[in-house]
Symmetry: C2
Subunit: 186 residues, 2 copies
């Protein structure tokens, strides 16, 4: 006889994050998600109330991770440069340790309804503002643009970096900081 798979709500949300990250929200059916958990589609509704709610939860997990990371980095004492380093190191940690939630947060937020989407957009702007402020303290000529460029590099990590390569996490942080501070002339 075969045993029934029994899963927790957290299992469902985490697996949804994985599939949303890999195939996108519209590319993932509830039956796909259930199959990944060893369930039938209808069984998911013992844990969650709708597919859209699942997306909201995954995206908000991503948003919270970045927010917590930024708060911790800004709370550190020291120079503005050291706080920038903490921001970057924190960002890299969030991306590498929570890749699925991050990818869903970055790529699928546009699917959310107006209310949730604007909330996520606001969170993203607050996060970017952390970078702008630190860069301002560092007397950077154009903190707004510098923040965009640095975050472009950081957010793109999701698309290419995999820890299997020779580039270790701390080296990655140093390389990004080196590039942001001095450009290619190093």
């Amino acid at each position: 006889m075969t045993t029934r798979a029994v899963r927790s709500r957290d299992d469902v949300v985490r697996t949804a994050g994985k599939l949303f990250a890999e195939r996108g929200y519209h590319g993932t059916s509830m039956r796909d998600l259930a199959a990944e958990l060893g369930l039938l589609g209808s069984s998911l509704y013992s844990h969650i109330s709708s597919k859209e709610d699942l997306l909201v939860e995954v995206v908000e997990r991503g948003a919270d991770l970045f927010q917590s990371s930024a708060e911790a980095a800004l709370a550190t004492s020291g120079t503005a440069a050291s706080r920038l380093k903490a921001l970057v190191a924190g960002h890299v940690d969030v991306v590498l340790d929570h890749l699925d939630e991050v990818r869903t947060f970055l790529n699928e937020a546009g699917v959310l309804d107006e209310v949730h989407r604007s909330r996520v957009l606001a969170a993203r702007d607050r996060y970017e503002a952390s970078y702008r402020e630190v860069l301002s303290e560092m007397k950077v000529a154009d903190p707004k643009l510098a923040a965009i460029f640095l975050l472009s590099i950081l957010n793109a990590l999701e698309r290419w970096y995999r820890p299997t390569g020779s580039l270790q996490r701390q080296d990655l942080v140093d390389e990004i900081l080196g590039f942001a501070l001095n450009g290619i002339r190093r």
Copy 2:
């Protein structure tokens, strides 16, 4: 009496690019696409043979644009630094002048079947190789990583830059080049 909308194949492909860019491939139905053109869903098949073929065509248009741009930039005479500038300026032109195809190329290529996806991936790598080579000529310490970082900034333009702001196209190119060459210290 009402006249019937008559469209060309190119109208269909261009509009598909617009919707794929805005809503994603799986988020766009053939009836959505037809409605945007003032047609019924079935009428599309007078012009194209399948939804997937539409995606292939849009993505390949994006790939071709970047390839042509890189070839033109590399064909210019002058220093490696001037060729890098031509690469960056060309990339900015492609993104700003063909936003829909670029967004679909960057974000929806993963939906393609294995054959087309690997072809697009190869094209992307050849494009990145152009940057690696020029950066190598410039004696950059780590051309591979520098190319990734620079392209991260360039590809992210699709997500935030809109020409309505105060930042003009040529200024944008200069800012990106300045950041890539010298970092935030300028």
